[in-house]
């Protein structure tokens, strides 16, 4: 039995925990405002909000793609669809969309409205750029977005003035959300009291689901009649913490949580920009670090990112715990150094010193909400321009997320200059084995990795290398 609040109504259902919330909303609850257009998290037409109690009277709301959202995870939560924010009259956000012509065929529109509503509810301050980021998971084929941008600008302008302190009430008074939202924390508390989740060891026959954003894309229709085990409800997996040597990120931590983490930002000041390149806001709100590591995609962004930070991975089952370097986790295509009953628990990052420099690069057909053609990360500790320690990774160029060991070896002890950079590109080119596929041809991926390695050094050592100096060295090589 799954129990939650759908808009303003408590719901209990016997529907399968491995079915997706979209189907429940549309078919069981008969709420047709949430649309299905891709069922793979890539269009945003199905966007809803999910609220979770963080203390007795505060709920945190996030946008999520209901097409990939396991129903079983909704226990004790507040699920809000477009119907749940409608008033008798249009609210200012809806009105702005109408006034600016920001909806044409209308199929994408409820998704946009929900993403923005979640943004207004969840962010500390309101500004236009962040509001645009909030709809980075919403695709519209009709408008060309200019009218949507105008509508968003208009609402931000309106709300900017007086959304402070008591945001919930301010949003209610602006009719962005209905008044019933005030009663939801109490109602959820009541639900949760009867709603204990019991923790059990993993059974081989069970399907482990973290965010489900990978599983439900790979195997739609398949999990509905399976015995699913949700990791999100396990304690301990969802924290980020640090001691004097390491920073730990639990495998169940959501990508968006990492992006906004102060602890992580201390290590990687630009984490926010880097992780904005990962999927979209609603996917980041749902996808976990562990899922990204375990799905073992050769192009996984967090995998490539953390490989270059020389992290260790902690895995465990009922009987044993192990910890080893992340680069040793990947054996061959989608084959991991892990037993079926093992759960990934955390990543452990050595704290970076002020001498460390880090850079992450990702190029895809579309900058946002796209899988990389090639991605790469590097961390370098240099002393007087001599490289002391370096870790370099690259995705999309091999059957596994690749730690470029030989390239790193090559770099250690060398001075940062165009010749060194050019040299390491040659070593890297011999270390990789890209294949032609929908994300690019082999020769493109080879060239692109070279360019991304250039980019690492140009970004991190602008005084030592720039594109012109590198180009002069390489001009005669590529045809």
């Amino acid at each position: 039995m799954i129990t939650f609040i759908l808009n303003d109504q408590p719901i209990s259902t016997e529907a399968s925990p491995g079915s997706v919330v979209l189907d429940f909303i549309r078919n069981d609850a008969g709420l047709k405002g949430t649309k299905e257009a891709c069922r793979e998290g890539d269009c945003g037409a199905c966007t809803i909000m999910v609220g979770e109690l963080i203390d007795d009277d505060t709920i945190e709301y996030h946008s999520v793609n209901s097409c990939l959202l396991p129903l079983g995870q909704m226990n004790g939560k507040h699920v809000v669809t477009i119907e749940g924010i409608n008033h008798a009259e249009l609210n200012p956000l809806q009105q702005a969309f109408v006034d600016e012509g920001a909806t044409q065929c209308g199929f994408c529109t409820p998704g946009f409205i929900m993403s923005l509503t979640a943004y207004f509810l969840s962010s500390d301050s309101i500004n236009y750029n962040d509001a645009i980021t909030a709809v980075d998971g919403n695709i519209c084929r009709c408008t060309g977005y200019a009218s949507i941008q105008r509508a968003i600008a208009r609402v931000c302008q309106l709300l900017l003035k007086d959304i402070t302190g008591d945001k919930l009430n301010a949003l209610i008074s602006h009719k962005i959300i209905p008044t019933y939202f005030k009663q939801i924390p109490a109602k959820l508390n009541e639900l949760n009291a009867h709603n204990q989740t019991d923790i059990q060891p993993v059974d081989i026959s069970q399907e482990i689901v973290a965010g489900g954003t990978d599983l439900f894309v790979q195997r739609p229709d398949d999990l509905i009649d399976k015995d699913v085990r949700f990791l999100s409800s396990e304690p301990g997996l969802t924290d980020i913490w640090q001691d004097d040597k390491f920073c730990y990120i639990g495998a169940g931590v959501k990508i968006e949580t990492i992006r906004n983490s102060d602890i992580v930002r201390k290590q990687i000041p630009k984490i926010d920009d880097y992780f904005r390149l990962f999927a979209s806001t609603p996917i980041r709100n749902q996808a976990t670090l562990g899922g990204n590591l375990v799905n073992a995609s050769p192009i996984g962004d967090t995998t490539i990112f953390f490989l270059a930070l020389n992290v260790r991975i902690g895995i465990a089952n009922e009987n044993e715990k192990r910890e080893f370097k992340l680069k040793d986790f990947y054996v061959s295509y989608k084959k991991l150094n892990k037993k079926a009953i093992d759960i990934v628990e955390y990543l452990k990052l050595p704290l970076l010193s002020s001498q460390h420099k880090f850079n992450f690069e990702k190029v895809a057909k579309r900058t946002y909400l796209d899988i990389a053609s090639v991605n790469s990360a590097v961390s370098i500790r240099a002393d007087a321009n001599i490289i002391q320690e370096v870790h370099l990774s690259a995705g999309g160029v091999s059957p596994i997320p690749l730690y470029l060991a030989e390239s790193a070896n090559y770099l250690v002890g060398r001075e940062v200059n165009p010749q060194t950079v050019r040299g390491v590109c040659r070593v890297a080119d011999a270390e990789i084995a890209p294949i032609s596929d929908v994300r690019g041809s082999e020769i493109y991926k080879r060239l692109l990795l070279r360019q991304l390695i250039f980019a690492h050094f140009i970004n991190l050592f602008p005084d030592n290398v720039n594109l012109e100096s590198l180009y002069r060295f390489t001009e005669n090589e590529i045809h």
Binding site: K35, A37, C43, L93, G106, G144, Y145, L467
Partner: protein, 753 residues
Amino acid sequence: MSIKNKDTILHVQGKSQFIDDQIVPEGTLYAAVVSSSIAHGKILKIDDEEARKINGIVCILTASDVPGQNQIGNIIKDETLLAENDVHYIGQPIAVILATDAFTARKAAKKINIRYEAFPAVFDPREAYKNGSLIAPERTFSCGNIDDAWRKCDVIVEGRVESGGQEHLYLETQGAFAIPMEHGKLKVFSSTQSPTIVQKTIAGILNILMHKIEVDVLRLGGGFGGKEDQATAWACMAALGVWKTGKPVKLVLRRHDDLRMTGKRHPYSSDFKIGLTNDYKIVAYEAMFYQNAGAAADLSTAILERTLFHTTNSYFIPNVKATAASCKTNLPPNTAFRGFGSPQAMFVIESAIHKAAEKMGVDSSIIQHINLLNEGDEFPFGMTYKSKTAHECWDNAQELYHVNEIINEIKVFNEQNSAVKKGMALMPICFGISFTTTFLNQASALVHVYSDGSVGISTAAVEMGQGVNTKIRQTAARVFSIDIERVFIETTNTTRIANTSPTAASSAADLNGNATRIACEQILCRLRTFALEQLKQPDASKIDFRDETIFYNNQPTALTWEILIGQAYINRQNLSAHAHYATPAIFFDRATEKGNAFAYHVCGTAISKVTLDCLRGTYTIDAVKIVHDGGTSINELIDRGQIEGALVQGIGWLTMEEVLYDEAGILLSNTFSAYKIPDIQFTPTDISIHFLESDETNLGVFNSKAIGEPPFMYAIGTYFALINAIKAFNPNVHIKYDAPMTPEKALLSLYSA
């Protein structure tokens, strides 16, 4: 402020209904489609034994279950609804599973095993051409004397141009819902741009008369041409299901199936030869277009024809020979998509101009400007260009957007930056308005004025977000001079409006708006006479309807609209009208390939500005600034939306949208994740639109002009802006005119010798 599209109020609340949102009657069956997994071959055996064992399966339909003609070809009868013996592309429907729920239907579909004998398959249009595999005989438009003309040229440039396919990616996938009615009638709700084609095709499939089928269309979640001909099959399958089972049947494609089974914009491979004199006048232009039609005709021949009509874009060229061949390959039948073959043609002439400009050492804009159409110039198909707006838009754009300053800015920027380059390009467009198949240029409207003064209107136009219904509402409100809230537009329904032309060719507002105008005028005419009697006044010409009040001799009378209508009803006046409109004075003779094919032309000029990251090969579209001749717009909010939407769709076609098949014909770009379209962060930072002020008259409603397709072609400028940025970094680049310019192609060009 512009009148709002009433539907948008529903959209923002999630209250607007699409096919899949409709509440279905109990007992409704759900359909799933089984399709070919090979590109060409013979079906040896369909093994459905496993599928039949599944609980909830009601029946499995194949070609032998079709009672009438197993045929959905519209222009050419060359396409089966369900494959009979042979299959010609991956995704070609073979069987339809009906089950008590959609999940079960899909599950069963996966369990159907089909054995084939594979035949060789062809995917390249030039190869198909060589094999003589054409959809129809090739066609040639020509004027002047091309053979002589080459001798007059100082510069001659030849080249090859490729443009890729494009997935429509309407957010609402294809779907239909059919229910049985008494007397063997069927009611079919379809997400189609062509209700009558759906009706007619179902009649053929079921071997029943058209009046037995009522097709109803509420709205589409996007169409863009993808639901002009290719919505039909799914409606036919649902109808066939109803016929077989007597139960309502719903068929909504999942995205993956939609992408796999439906056709896209036609990829073209083309050759050109262009000749100019030293003063940049284009003297001669020759082009050969190889259209990749896919495995069946669909609308390919009509699209091919429009390619020929737009061979010379906005330019006057005295000697032209353009030949086009619709080549049959083993891909899903390609189909209509905004622009309908004209973007492909315009991309070729712009490439030719770009290459000639490069050879002559000038910017393309010099050649573009000198050769722009002047009033009185003749197109290769014999029609005269009767407007001045091609030049007016160009000149306005130059001034309004300070083109010379942009050019300078970019020059300075490029001198100062080595790793980032900027580029710009101008793009004039000229697009003919009318179906080039003359008979389609007709529409009708049924207008009822109810006794309370409210108005209900039915037309052939299908609303898909383009705002046609709003324009029609405005038209009626304007003719009657009443509050727009009195006017309601009904669904598009074949029992109310028969013989509908597709909502396509940008012409729905023109055709249906004019039909509505005429119907309203007929009622108005009766009302005038009646009002005169009521007012006991003599002179009909002094009656005036203004803002809901009836005026006589410029004085308001006691008669308001509501009172007048109430009295008219009591006095047995006819308050309904059905009117038909056919665009006057258009014709085209396919024997001579000459004629006055279009009601009028839409022109405009766009300036595109881009920034290219020469380290990574990625780019941003910084600005597209447009001067557009939209006539006297009925609704600027809607027209602006159409321009922005078409432009960004066009930018997608030329930049990131890449339809990819592997060597076996399997679609690789088969998901939203593998096929990228512009998102909100890629869309140009600055889209400026200025509507040209012009007092020219035309055949649109109240001098408005069609808007749907023409702005798509502005995007072609962004391609050349990118090329120019690449050249700023790598002057030695050998340009391949090969759209789309993906980041991959950009990077490879940046570093090619």
